[in-house]
């Protein structure tokens, strides 16, 4: 039932290939500016964070703004970047909480599934401001993208290890 526009497109521009391109580019950049041979824990941790962010960012950019979760993720990245430069992005969070309150009031129809939907909202980026129907839709697409991400990363690790 899910609409998967990425899969019906030309395979050269599929979600997977777009993600791979972006992610590999980001990885090479990280490798270039931060050589591997730094043993200090903090550096390693920073590198790990960078790679994780690069991976998620590449995926979000590959999806562009077609999905609510990707839009939320991208705005999160941008706000984080602006936060680094000194600006605080507290406005966004307050908006989300107010929307969350109104949605909670309307959720009486679901009854006992409120807890799970809340948890799902936390997991899926941008899930606070969605109704249950859209939330499930976004979750499905998010799961699909996450699996692609994991697949690609595994293959890269495989390749890296085999080449050593």
């Amino acid at each position: 039932m899910m609409n998967t526009p990425q899969q019906v497109k030309n395979p050269s521009s599929s979600l997977k290939s777009r993600f791979i391109t972006r992610f590999l580019g980001a990885l090479t950049k990280i490798n270039a500016e931060d050589p591997i041979s730094s043993p200090s824990p903090t550096r390693i941790f920073q590198r790990y964070r960078r790679i994780k962010v690069a991976s998620n960012k590449s995926m979000a950019y590959s999806v562009r703004s077609r999905r609510i979760w990707s839009r939320a993720m991208l705005s999160r990245f941008r706000s984080r970047r602006s936060a680094f430069s000194g600006r605080r992005s507290s406005v966004k969070t307050t908006n989300c909480t107010t929307i969350n309150v109104t949605i909670n009031e309307n959720k009486t129809a679901k009854g006992g599934l409120d807890m799970q939907t809340d948890e799902l909202r936390e997991l899926v980026p941008g899930g606070e401001a969605m109704d249950v129907c859209n939330l499930l839709d976004e979750t499905a697409h998010y799961i699909k993208c996450l699996t692609t991400q994991v697949q690609v990363m595994r293959k890269i690790v495989d390749f890296c290890h085999l080449s050593k």
Partner: protein, 427 residues
């Protein structure tokens, strides 16, 4: 045509199909008693209580009707013939009316071919029978009340004509098929006058459900207000989405919505964790982690496990064999994980293993470490990501043996485990 159809619809709605008829019985065309259970699936009639206890006297009557109607030419243009005709002509008129009514149904998309049309016709016949019965019982008010439940305008016109009808019955010869036919003829005449008198409103009230937009029409016992319809639509859409999610998530054989949601949540957490772990494995050079997902790391796992063993390792002899067993499983799982998550899970389950967070694993291992001989590696997490293999020799049936394969994430500054860690352990 329009007056006829409206009239027929009024008749239809008069005696609501409270009976349930299996379609095959109708096709059998015989058993009158089965008609008690006639159910018109897509018919849209107003629901109001009607006396359902009816007794049909003439089986042959219905069969006659059926045989005649099946051979009757379906035509839409049937004008109202002489209502006083109480013999075969009147009977034929009713036939024609029914035929036209059924044709109307077919046009409206309600009928699915002749069997359904036959069913409709049988239903109408039965309704007429019921109405005749009611009138014979001498309760015209009841009949008109039942008739006018939803169509109030009919009710107003019903009284007088019912009385007239009753007089006709009282005067005429009431026996055999003639009786039934006369009833039918008079009935239809009555209905016609009624409907023509109150035609537009009744027709509209009754034809509204006959529109092709029948999916909006509520079924028995359900409201028609837009809120419940919207609610129903919403529920349907959510069910669709859940089904789509069920295909994506492995182990999605749960029928309960709550457990399905739990499964989905766990899977999303698991995927996010995998991304974290994999991005950590990217920290180059960490040969200990790469073996998790590649083949050639068997010796690496071995070395890291052996190198990391600490004084808690009290059973040194068991080490190599346990490690070997573990590494084989790990390799298998890693290979399977690369291809298909579902098969990896199945493989684990077949072996009696499961994934669990490392906190739980350490808790269990510390709990069982007294009764068995565990080999626990507590590698200093500051060295980056590495593999942690933990196994305890299987003891008696009291507690299961535990093999734990964990990936401990690098913890900078915390000293504990960061985030969650993926571990494979035997329950």
């Amino acid at each position: 045509m329009q007056p006829c159809s409206r009239e027929m619809q009024a008749m239809n709605s008069l005696l609501n199909p409270t009976q349930q008829i299996p379609l095959q019985d109708l096709q059998i065309n015989g058993n009158r008693h089965h008609h008690q259970q006639i159910h018109v699936p897509s018919s849209s009639h107003f629901q109001y209580p009607t006396p359902t206890s009816t007794t049909h006297h003439d089986d042959s009557f219905l069969e006659q009707i059926l045989s005649s109607t099946t051979s009757f030419p379906w035509s839409d243009e049937t004008g109202p013939p002489n209502p006083e005709d109480n013999n075969n002509a009147g009977f034929n008129y009713d036939d024609m009316v029914l035929a036209s009514k059924l044709r109307q149904h077919q046009i409206n998309g309600g009928a699915a071919g002749n069997p359904f049309a036959a069913m409709k016709m049988m239903l109408m016949m039965q309704q007429q029978q019921q109405q005749q019965q009611m009138m014979l019982a001498g309760r015209p008010t009841v009949a008109s009340a039942a008739a006018g439940g939803g169509i109030t305008t009919n009710h107003q016109g019903g009284e007088g004509s019912m009385q007239a009808l009753y007089n006709v019955f009282g005067d005429g010869s009431l026996h055999g098929t003639m009786q039934a036919k006369s009833f039918v003829g008079a009935n239809s005449a009555t209905e016609m006058t009624q409907s023509q008198g109150s035609g537009p409103t009744a027709g509209e009230a009754v034809t509204a459900p006959e529109k092709p937009k029948q999916r909006v029409r509520a079924r028995r016992g359900q409201a028609t207000d837009p809120h419940s319809i919207a609610e129903r639509l919403r529920r349907v859409r959510i069910a669709e989405r859940m089904k789509a999610l069920q295909e994506l998530v492995p182990n999605a054989n749960k029928t309960d919505k709550a457990s399905m949601l739990d499964e989905i949540i766990d899977y999303v957490k698991f995927l996010q964790l995998q991304v974290k772990v994999l991005s950590m494995s990217r920290l180059g050079g960490a040969a200990a982690v790469a073996p998790l997902v590649s083949e050639g790391g068997g010796d690496c796992i071995q070395t890291s496990a052996n190198g990391g063993s600490h004084p808690r390792n009290s059973n040194g002899d068991q080490t190599p064999s346990a490690n070997d067993r573990l590494t084989m499983t790990e390799h298998q799982v890693a290979k399977l994980m690369e291809e298909d998550m579902g098969s990896a899970m199945q493989y684990l389950q077949e072996k009696g293993l499961c994934l669990m967070p490392i906190s739980l694993a350490t808790a269990i291992s510390s709990a069982t470490s007294r009764s068995r001989n565990p080999m626990i590696n507590h590698e200093n997490p500051a060295n980056g990501s590495h593999l942690l293999i933990q196994s305890s020799g299987g003891d008696g049936p009291s507690s299961p043996s535990m093999s734990v394969l964990t990936v401990q994430s690098a913890t900078m500054g915390n000293g504990g485990l960061e985030g969650g860690a993926a571990s494979v352990s035997k329950p």
